[in-house]
Subunit: 393 residues, 2 copies
């Protein structure tokens, strides 16, 4: 007789019900991969996006075109949804708050979004919670920012509305102040970091948390986007544990239900500083689809459905290369070199269904699996060299 | 400088083009999982199925309701498709032949379907090709079948139209002849087998072949369906190599482009006999989604798009449990015990989006990952015990 008890550690109260309708605010690539995971749970999916040709269009049960920031649009959209989630932070939090008051399940909670959406509030939250982060100054406008020349070099971030490298400026000297934002922002001390790391943590309603292995990100110098990453990060056990503990600490401090992606700096003297967080599936977790027991997308679903969280164990070492629109090309996308990279063992394409490319647009990503870290690096170089997103003539 | 040549073993001629429209005949679970893989290649998907509520309905770009066996319906359906494939054999081969003549890419080729679709032709093909299979007699009708009492015990199979255990009867003694089919069929000598094995092989237009690891299937005694399987099979290296070689031999003999699932018997004296084949993704390969580098579905796409085939390496041991409608229940499906099985490490649900359950209907499957074979077996028992597809009151 098998002892069942050893497997079923914790029986949750909420019963799995596949007839739930999940509303997703945002129909981009994160929504697309979330839907791919939701298909296996047989959830009914309704998506809202301002772009009538968004990546989620053809794989949602219902696809609604409309503004994510418009209160009435979001309210109307969500009326027949059982659970509402997001794939982008830049949405009407007021509407989400009203939906929550109506008794709808809204995850991540609007209260969490309030803290994260504004980078000024986010930084103050870290300070209050004694969470390690770079020194900062809140700035009102460009003029105000100019008064902190002594604080340079620093990174100037727009309080609200930034995404994918937009809303961030590096200010090295007084000359750069002309690039400073003329709206409320935060000036962060430039960190002389060794590596940029990220940990994705999931937390369900019961407060169960699970972290994915720490990853190491390399940013594109110009586009300020993740260019590629390695999972797990090539760091000491001690750093790994520290990063992991910080991610769990933030998730618990926020009380979030859902995924939280925590981007961090590993400083040259071995400190970990929180850079910023995102309350949703994140670019730094895409490799989990191929390399871990559960993907970040399935994990987000488990968290917001209040199901037991899945094992995040990595069965393979992996790299993830973002597929950005090539400079100098705009128009209908063509994936040059795909045949060649697909001939490489362990290479898997993820195209986002975006018809048009433009410089640095995120068109897809490539996951590479290899148990040998050096080979993984060689394959990253090969993929970056051979695979280009250009445009049709 | 990295040597790229080592990775890109073979550069194919056909260039990857994500703007291709793929027509799928059949909109069931195999089509559904095929589409899930196709999303990552950004293919445009059009699906044909007689059931207006088929599992592929909401994830196809276009979903057409119509008969798969009607020549005109299939012809009209496929006119704007670049590539046509199937997820079920029971389709109008005449239409596929006409489409092929028009110059369309039809994979698997209609000539292959002609051989496989009729089990009588299939068996004769093995004989001609000197491929090992159970002894058989072609039967015209029930009366004719009765004349082979000396051949019993035997398995009587309907020549055409059988699927999922339908169209198969076990004839142990003369009494059972009343169950014999009254249409053209094949009477196969009953094999006293040790195990039932399966190998899925992919072959692209260039003739490149790749096999998935041999799996071991356990059939449901009543429903004559795969109940669960283990990957890789618990067999000797020698048996493994023999099974693998036979699968490649059949694929090459057929000249198939696409996937071929080869079901085999391992006899008590260590022989391998081909049971039957299916020219498409197959129930015996579902675990590949979670346990292998490429899934059978991605591999089928690579084969029919003439892309390099992916590595089929298993990164994990896996079991797959079919989720069949519980006896005594018919109606809107409810998945009882899902919370409990999801609490078990390595358990992943795949629900097929079928609204209504009935006894033995394939409603989904569960993949279980565990590096330890004994634990895997325990988890299979747990899942089979706890998870039931019942109906709403």
């Amino acid at each position: 007789m098998v002892s069942y008890r050893i497997f079923a550690k914790k029986i949750l109260i909420v019963r799995f019900d596949n007839r739930k309708k999940l509303g997703i605010l945002g129909g981009g690539q994160l929504g697309r991969m979330l839907i791919q995971a939701a298909i296996d749970f047989d959830l009914t999916i309704k998506t809202l996006d301002p772009d009538s040709d968004a990546p989620c269009k053809y794989i949602s049960h219902e696809f609604v075109v409309g503004s994510l920031n418009d209160y009435d649009t979001v309210m109307a959209f969500a009326q027949d949804c059982d659970i509402v989630t997001i794939e982008i932070e830049n949405v009407s939090i007021e509407a989400l708050e009203a939906l929550e008051k109506q008794g709808k399940a809204v995850f991540p909670q609007p209260s969490v979004l309030r803290i994260i959406k504004d980078k000024r509030v986010q930084k103050q939250f870290y300070q209050q919670q004694n969470l390690p982060t770079a020194e900062f100054i809140l700035t009102d406008n460009q003029e105000h920012t100019r008064s902190f020349e002594n604080f340079l070099p620093a990174v100037h971030k727009l309080g609200q509305g930034g995404y994918d490298g937009k809303g961030v400026q590096i200010l090295r000297s007084a000359d750069d102040f002309r690039k400073a934002f003329d709206q409320p922002g935060v000036l962060e001390k430039m960190i002389d970091f060794e590596k940029e790391l990220a940990v994705i943590v999931a937390r369900n309603q019961e407060g169960e948390t699970k972290t994915f292995p720490v990853v190491e990100m390399v940013f594109h110098p110009e586009a300020n986007l993740v260019e590629y990453l390695f999972s797990p990060a090539n760091i000491s056990k001690e750093t790994e544990q520290k990063a992991d503990a910080i991610a769990i600490q933030i998730a618990n401090a926020l009380g979030i239900t859902g995924l939280l992606a925590v981007e961090m700096f590993l400083t040259k003297d071995g400190q970990i500083l929180i850079n910023e967080v995102a309350p949703r599936p994140h670019n730094s977790g895409h490799q989990s689809i191929r390399a871990n027991d559960v993907s970040q997308f399935e994990q987000h679903l488990r968290a917001i459905l209040n199901l037991p969280l899945g094992s995040t164990k990595a069965h393979s070492k992996a790299a993830m290369v973002n597929l950005l629109g090539e400079e100098g090309y705009a128009g209908e996308a063509v994936y040059q070199g795909m045949d060649e990279v697909l001939a490489v063992e362990g290479v898997h394409p993820f195209l986002y269904g975006k018809r048009f490319t433009k410089p640095f647009r995120k068109m897809g990503h490539i996951t590479i699996i290899d148990q040998n870290f050096e080979k993984l690096k060689e394959k990253v170089i090969f993929v970056k060299e051979k695979l280009k997103v250009i445009a049709k003539n």
